[in-house]
Amino acid sequence: MNFTWSDAAYFGPEAVMGLTFLLCVLGDLVTRGRRHVVPFGTLLVGTAISLVLALLHPPVSSHAILGQMVVVDGFAHFFRLLFLGITFVTALLSWSSREIMGRDREHQGEFYALAAMLCFGMMVMAESADIVMLALSLEAVSITSYILAGFARFSFRSSEAALKYVLWGAVSSAVMLYGLSLFYGLTGATSYEGIRAGLSGGQGGMALLVAILFVMAGIGYKISAVPFHFWTPDVYEGAPAPVAAIFASGPKIAGFALMIRFFYVALVQDDSQGTLALLDDVQWPWVLAIISAATMTLGNMAAIRQNSVRRLLAYSSIAHVGYMLMGFVVLSANGLAAVLFYLFVYAIMTIGAFLVVVALNNRVSGEEIDDYAGLGFREPLVAAMMFLFLISLTGLPPTAGFIGKFYLFAAAGEAGLWWLAILGVLNSVVSLYYYMRIARAMYFTPPELSGRVGLAQAHLILLVVLAVPTLVLGVFWSPLKEFADQSLRMLLGGG
């Protein structure tokens, strides 16, 4: 472990976020937890500085730092920007949410400190190049998440959500750590590169399969893939809505980033023709393809029967993991680029949909689908944007969600996984049904109350900020696609 100061130059955005965390805590202490604007402002400024730093110094080559434990490359850069963006938006979203900032709440300032920590952890997850760092960053994110889930600590549901999250998390972490130890046992290395070198003999056999499955259990929990998804609806429903918005985007995306780097660096080699191949004869892509099929089908089927908008979105977010795994299992750069593209789009539309829930949560009586009745006439703008997010989640043109799905299906088709692609498109049709239940409530049912709902100005502005890319990326998406392609080049090309 040798640390050099030159490493710090590559670790700027992460360092700033770490510092932001400390400053948020400090600011909250100094103001005795009375002036929440201090930690809130600190988080916004910190995130902005970090974002500027990241944008000013995009990595030009793959660079391993902190004793080869962390790799800063284009792939890390892509996720850095995504996580910083998510943190910035969700911080703004939380600031005017009653569930976080309501008068009856406590320690509101700490929320922002935790958000900074979460962002730091997620960025490191996407950069980990060593199973030790993998476990550490995953735990950093998990522990922060547990606290966030139980943030409304006098709410029964919030506490229940936190407890469920902790129990599931603890078990799956333990299983994953065991899997990682098997990797160490098989190869004698902790770095991904080392594991790859150790496995290239192709002698993994049963032990390797078990190790992979165990690691999958830990990651599957983080991304809520079937059968590790059971906590998701309860946590999304119980936790404060802004926290649910964070969970549905941030940690899930970080889980994908971690998974992609681990599997594609440690377990995949590219032969000289630039095509990717398995190191060993353990057919983990098949296992993942089945998980993908199960995840999307189960997520969609369960979503049909939900009456709570939040639970519906929770199950739909499970289904989306299934779609994204489709791009992961095909072992091609195109497949991974499709996943990256989709993650980006998914973050925008999911946060958008949750933002509507947050915005209405402050004003409308409940979160059942029926509570949205007549919204299209009471709040035409908000309803129209909700509709846009919903059709984007369904994957209809001209929205970003369609393009994302198109690339995923195209990747599956290119690899000849037609059965998975057919299952994917049929699932999209199913998802139309339940997304349109919300649209039906908003537009087809007459409102019980008349007059405007009256939403926070900040929420309206944020909604527009999220709706614009949802639409624009559906018509002109080249820049994002090229960014995704480019981000992968160092990961796959440089090995």
């Binding site: 369609f402 195209a410 088709g413 290119e414 037609w418 498109v425 049929l426 349109m436 080249s478 392609d485």
Partner: protein, 505 residues
């Protein structure tokens, strides 16, 4: 093989496609209280494509099968997606029909009271979607327009529809989406297996896909080609709709407001058969030949089954809806035989059914606005109280049953002439459809307009001027094309001959 006409580049079609979209944006920015403003703005924005359609009719070159008035611009270069539009003889009649019916339907929607702003904005958005489908020559672009059209349709049925509107709207949406996602997968499969002859890369360009020499090795396997054909075909069949995928149609028609029913039957159904002619046939001609016989049988089933269902209906609108199923059967039968008479009859019937069924739905709308029901048995003797209405409705009904001298006859006659050469038995069975058609039409005519006057409707006002404005231009067209069809036949003929020349056997 389809080629681009030299020097045929033009922005006419782009204007026709996107002008209504501009109108939708303008309307959504208008104040919501002034309903008349919405109506007149919508009319203005739908008249422009109609005027451009007249221009299109004048400048269209009838002597070539090449793609005319095209525009080709790169859209997403890295994925070889282009903004590529143009017309040939197959699509030009559909573009004209769309422009005409949309303008008519805006007038027919004058009576809409609820949320006019949203209604007309969505209506114009729908027009953009439909136009886009008919002019697209890039498969990706085609798919985008195909889907974009679903959203306004869903709302137009779901918000402004009848009592069971919610059920009808989601059923329409789910059925069509289920079909189109299959199309999406076939599109992806074609993309990866068709080479752009100039660059060697993949392509969504339909013209490249139609050239068999560009097909990759995987795409040469007959089994694969049959599967791809079926995938596309089911997507289009749901739209046509071909029995047994037709159950969304009566529901959607009955619940939709009048103008939306007109668009549904007049234009949307044609997208199905248009898709088969534009995509299935030229890209996979050998598979088309292989499936010809089942296609003809499906056509006959549509004709007979649709007519029998129509006869059993007590709701006028449902009767007209099922008559559409029956009439689209003629189109299918004509398409299944690859000779000049059959396929010309099919495309002619597509156009004529669009105008005739539009008249029928408009007329049903007129009586519904007055009586607030559509029960066939709930009227009687309207001929004495509403003579003008009776005249126009009877004209439409006679056109629907294929009376010589009206446009419906020409298409059906050509279809039967063409089909008889190839599939005798199927054709003979199908001809029974004409008799069944006469039966349900005349029986309805008798129950509604003849007999003793139902006193309840003795004072019903006759058809008014606005309603006449919507229907008379179409009626004139129906009579004119019944007596003198060459204006349409000349437009479509060369392209269709070129198309059937591709199909082996």
């Amino acid at each position: 093989m389809l080629e681009l006409a030299d020097g045929g580049s033009s922005s006419l079609l782009t204007w026709m496609t996107f002008f209504p979209l501009l109108g939708a944006v303008v309307i959504s920015l208008l104040p919501s209280r002034n309903q008349n403003l919405h109506r007149w703005t919508a009319l203005g924005f739908s008249l422009v494509p109609l005027v451009l359609a007249v221009k299109l009719f004048m400048v269209f070159d009838r002597s070539t099968s090449d793609v005319q008035l095209w525009t080709q611009v790169d859209w997403i270069r890295t994925f070889h997606i282009q903004y590529f539009v143009g017309v040939d003889g197959i699509s030009v009649t559909m573009v004209l029909l769309t422009a005409l019916l949309c303008a008519v339907c805006v007038v027919a929607s004058w009576g809409i009271q609820r949320a006019t702003k949203g209604y007309f904005a969505l209506f114009l958005l729908l027009e953009t979607g439909m136009m886009g489908v008919f002019v697209s020559l890039d498969f990706f672009l085609f798919y985008v327009f195909w889907e974009v059209m679903l959203l306004p349709m869903y709302f137009l049925i779901g918000v402004w529809g009848g009592p069971r509107k919610e059920y009808a709207a989601i059923k329409f949406f789910l059925y069509t989406l289920a079909g189109s996602v299959l199309m999406l997968l076939v599109m992806i499969a074609l993309y990866f297996n068709v080479n752009d002859p100039s660059t060697g890369g993949h392509t969504f360009n339909m013209l490249h896909m139609m050239a068999q020499a560009n097909h990759g090795e995987w795409l040469l396997d007959p089994t694969i080609r049959h599967i791809l054909f079926l995938g596309l075909f089911i997507g289009f069949a749901i739209k046509v709709p071909i029995v047994p995928f037709h159950t969304w149609l009566p529901d959607a028609h009955v619940e939709a407001p009048t103008a939306v029913s007109v668009i549904l039957a007049g234009v949307l159904l044609k997208m199905g058969t248009y898709g088969i002619l534009r995509i299935c046939y030229p890209i996979l001609p050998d598979a088309a030949a292989w499936f010809a016989y089942p296609l003809a049988i499906l056509g006959a089933v549509n004709i007979i089954y649709g007519a029998m269902c129509a006869m059993a209906q007590t709701d006028m609108k449902k009767l007209v809806a099922y008559s559409s199923v029956s009439h689209m059967g003629y189109v299918l039968l004509g398409m299944a035989v690859f000779n000049e008479a059959g396929i010309t009859g099919a495309v002619l019937q597509m156009f004529n059914h669009g105008t005739i069924t539009a008249m029928l739905f408009l007329m049903v709308g007129v009586i519904y606005d007055r009586a607030h029901h559509r029960e066939i048995n709930g009227f009687g003797g309207l001929g004495t109280s509403m003579p003008k209405y009776t005249t126009v409705f009877s004209l439409a009904l006679f056109a629907a049953l294929g009376l010589p001298g009206l446009s419906g006859f020409v298409g059906e006659a050509l279809v039967f002439v063409g089909a008889f050469e190839v599939y005798r038995v199927v054709t003979i069975v199908s001809v029974l459809g004409i008799i069944l058609g006469a039966a349900y039409v005349l029986w309805m005519l008798q129950r509604v307009f003849l007999g003793p006057l139902n006193e309840k409707y003795a004072d019903t006002p006759d058809i008014n001027r606005r309603e006449l404005i919507t229907v008379l231009p179409i009626a004139a067209l129906v009579i004119f094309l019944g007596v003198f069809p060459p204006p349409i036949i000349n437009m479509i003929k060369v392209s269709l001959l070129n198309l059937i020349a591709q199909i082996p056997g």
